[in-house]
């Protein structure tokens, strides 16, 4: 990313630490999604995490040859409280999605529920709808995990 940004740099006179201009942002190589799509992703991640108390993160990128091992490595680097985290690792180039669920979270999100959400996501991905599939899959996962009593506002 930095290399590409330097190649199309629209530097002003300042020598160091120039913020990317608007044209740079428009051509930045990591603009996979439009702003509306990013907003939908952000909302889905934040709302499902807030509702369930689990920490949902989403990784989009290559997963190597052993996708499950790579996804579990990524999950261990994801930070936060690992037993109550959920990682959606999606590699569109390899057409693979891996869902990794921590031990405590897997009691509320059994493998069967994850497989169902993965099925609906792969359906959407196969028709080219990345963001819609992710948002719907997150909704399914958070519905399945439910809203724990300790997070309810009325005690």
């Amino acid at each position: 990313m930095t290399r590409a940004l330097e190649a199309t740099s629209h530097d002003t006179a300042t020598s160091a630490g120039t913020m990317p201009t608007r044209t740079d942002e428009a051509q930045a190589p990591d603009t996979i999604f439009s702003y509306q799509e990013l907003l939908r992703l952000d909302d889905a991640l934040t709302l499902s995490s807030r509702e369930t108390g689990l920490r949902f993160t989403l990784y989009l990128g290559d997963l190597g040859t052993r996708t499950r091992v790579r996804a579990e490595e990524l999950f261990e680097q994801s930070g936060g409280h690992l037993p109550e985290s959920v990682l959606l690792a999606i590699s569109p180039g390899q057409r693979v999605i891996e869902v990794v669920v921590g031990a405590a979270a897997s009691r509320r999100l059994p493998d069967r529920a994850c497989a169902l959400a993965v099925l609906s996501m792969t359906n959407a991905f196969a028709s080219g709808d990345l963001v819609g599939g992710i948002v719907n899959g997150l909704r399914q996962l958070s519905d399945q995990a439910g809203h724990p009593r300790s997070l309810r506002p009325t005690h």
Binding site: F125, D129, S150
Partner: protein, 91 residues
């Protein structure tokens, strides 16, 4: 004169309409704006990691004492998250 008028009406006007339609549909630069994922195409973007907002999200954001009681049971060993669940799928 009538031949020229007939040509103009029956050839010139349809041609003009077709040209206008072609210009409207095949305008350059319109297709570039929407980069849409198509299954099967290579994915040469940088890896991205999206996280939820920290405010109130996750088990630690709540700051609720009762919710953390469960951690004391499972957090004895550092590898307590180890039996991972999940699923995988391809498309």
């Amino acid at each position: 004169m009538t031949v020229v008028e007939t040509l103009l009406v029956y050839v010139g006007i349809p041609l003009a309409i077709v040209l206008v339609m072609a210009l409207l549909t095949m305008r350059p630069g319109k297709g570039q704006k929407k980069l849409r994922y198509k299954p099967g195409q290579s994915w040469d973007h940088e890896p991205v990691w999206y996280e939820p907002h920290p405010g109130g999200a996750g088990a630690h954001g709540g700051g609720h004492g009762g919710g953390h009681g469960a951690h004391a049971l499972t957090a004895g060993a550092p590898a307590s998250a180890r039996p991972y669940g999940g699923a995988r799928g391809t498309w």
